[in-house]
Symmetry: C2
DNA sequence: TTGTACGCGTTATCAC
DNA sequence: GTGATAACGCGTACAA
């Protein structure tokens, strides 16, 4: 009674409508004209049978998956909600689907990334979710890739989209120094080799230098762009006499939360004793206690632009080799201002 | 020079290794024994050729996509970061991939959902991303589905996972009334027909009744679980004389942020004049200004459990028809307490 | 405008 | 232990 295959195929539709599979296919893809009567019959039969073209069969036949992939290092950060949202909007707008996966390109990670040419038409690669070598291989296969918050390795002309880090960070450190008279400012690093962190540190150093303040390595802590790590780093730092400090640039908002927690737990007042600044301007940052002075990064826009670039690639349209989205500093109260 | 197909197939591997495709397939899937020498040759050839089995071909042959889908109504809420994280962890743990899509089951939405039996092995359906009818159809095809934050329609034995809403909401309203003497408490609704909102409202009403407070329809506002909407609703309410109120249960934390913003803009002090409570306990909620009194919902756990149920379904293992995860009230300062 | 038949890359069923 | 080969569901020449 039950047929071998429970799913209804194009053949069933064809038979039921009294036409050939070719005709059905043509109607579905609107490739070639189909007589009105046939079209009418088809639309009815397809509804009755609840027919859906099998994605894999289509993929195999057309060599197009109609799927793009997003490779992340993790998803434990609220930062990713707007990013995903931006990406998803352009992906669905193009009638594509989105495959989301996490993968870390640590040296000990010998696993193949879970998404790639075998199951997608193109990849959005976030930060260090892939190592250089894997990027080279993808490029060798002419596989469409756009990088997010990461620049391509040498001689690899991959389009990338990220935000302006250095100038904004410098501006916010300038503010800490010039307006609030801070001189012992902690810099919290992100993950090792993270490019955003790198450029933010450049901005930090530039500001110090411009103000004749010596760079003190003891003032750079590991925040890893993670709340827990930042909190622990801050706590450890707090529990020892040295170094003294009067402000902390947390690296990102996520870490700033951790800093808030550690400071609060240690009974240090923000911003009266210690000024704190972040980076990203996550959705909640203006509602923190105190409201967080930070740099606004257009995260959702980053997602949208990256998605658009990928589709340009897929459609053979010209792409922008680099999209450097502007940032701006947002002065609130955690630095000591009264906004 | 360039071959017709740029991708390397199992045939290339087979030829290069001097064996048949069947042998290669067997080695890849570890289905049947392969002589050690052949295995060694294969592993080398596959590495050289950088061979990856084509997902669509596999899908077609095995009738398994090794992909599960997550259907959301939107992704503009920070709530989804932990949910996604929980889901992704179990999905990748099973060697599967995750297809994420948004779809609204509004009556005007005649589009087919972008994921389903044609491109996944099973679906995680969040709240109202699918309408009853579509659920029935999927079930008729014996397609594995687990519901998140939604109960199945009549006679549909779909497993679902959600959190305890009513008792926790009642407890938090009790707290507002008993500890802080509030009597005019605004209830902010979520989206129409949203089940969480429904049960939270039940809890709200139960508390009022238990304290002999009349239910006043003028005190229920539309928050929609969205910050912007909640803010606007609150502002509108604030700008008119009536109704007076001394507290607001925002429906969820997201809306609570909007309430904070509106109240602040109107110069009303939280919690001195108005007490505010939320639901979810998002990651940032304890760092809001003031720290938000709310209900902790184990969102990441919801994701994990839902994922596990789906894989149980896929593997023919027994499933829990209902997973009702416990919640607890978290008293902080936005209600007027001093924690 | 419509139909026939082959190929897409893989697995699975035979036979050896 | 290994090799041919028929599906899997669809698109698309090529023919009519």
């Amino acid at each position: 009674m039950t047929k071998k295959s429970s799913s209804v195929t194009i053949r069933n539709v064809a038979r039921q409508a009294g036409v050939s599979v070719a005709t059905v296919s043509r109607y579905i893809n609107h490739n070639a004209p189909v007589s009105p009567e046939v079209a009418e019959r088809l639309i009815k039969v397809m509804a009755e049978l609840n027919y859906l073209p099998h994605a894999a069969a289509r993929h195999l036949a057309t060599r197009k998956a109609r799927v793009v992939g997003l490779l992340l290092t993790n998803m434990t950060n609220d930062y990713f909600a707007p990013l995903l949202n931006g990406i998803e909007s352009v992906v669905s707008q193009h009638g594509y689907n989105l495959l989301v996966a996490t993968h870390r390109s640590a040296s000990n990670n010998d696993f193949q990334p879970p998404i790639g040419p075998h199951n997608t038409d193109g990849l959005l690669v976030f930060a260090a979710s892939l190592k250089d070598e894997q990027l080279y291989q993808l490029h060798k296969k002419k596989f469409p890739v756009v990088l997010i918050h990461r620049t391509p390795p040498d001689d690899l002309p991959l389009p990338f989209v990220t935000v302006e880090n250095k100038a904004a960070t410098r501006a916010i450190i300038d503010h800490l120094i010039e307006v609030h008279g801070k001189r012992r400012i902690i810099f919290m690093r992100g993950p090792i080799h993270n490019e955003d962190s790198h450029w933010r540190e450049m901005g930090y150093k530039a500001s110090l230098q411009a103000h004749g303040i010596d760079y003190d390595p003891a003032l750079v802590l590991a925040g890893e762009f993670e709340r827990k790590v930042a909190q622990e780093s801050m706590s450890t730092c707090l529990s020892s006499k040295y170094p003294e400090f009067d402000a902390v640039f947390a690296g990102d908002d996520e870490a700033a939360i951790g800093v808030f927690a550690a400071l609060q737990q240690a009974g240090r007042r923000v911003p009266e004793e210690i000024a704190v600044a972040g980076f990203d301007d996550q959705r909640m940052s203006s509602f923190l206690n105190p409201p967080l002075t930070t740099v606004r990064a257009p995260t959702e826009e980053v997602g949208r632009v990256a998605g658009q670039q990928l589709f340009n690639l897929l459609q053979g349209l010209p792409v922008d080799p680099v999209s450097l989205l502007p940032t701006e500093i947002i002065i609130r109260r955690s630095c000591g201002c009264n906004h």
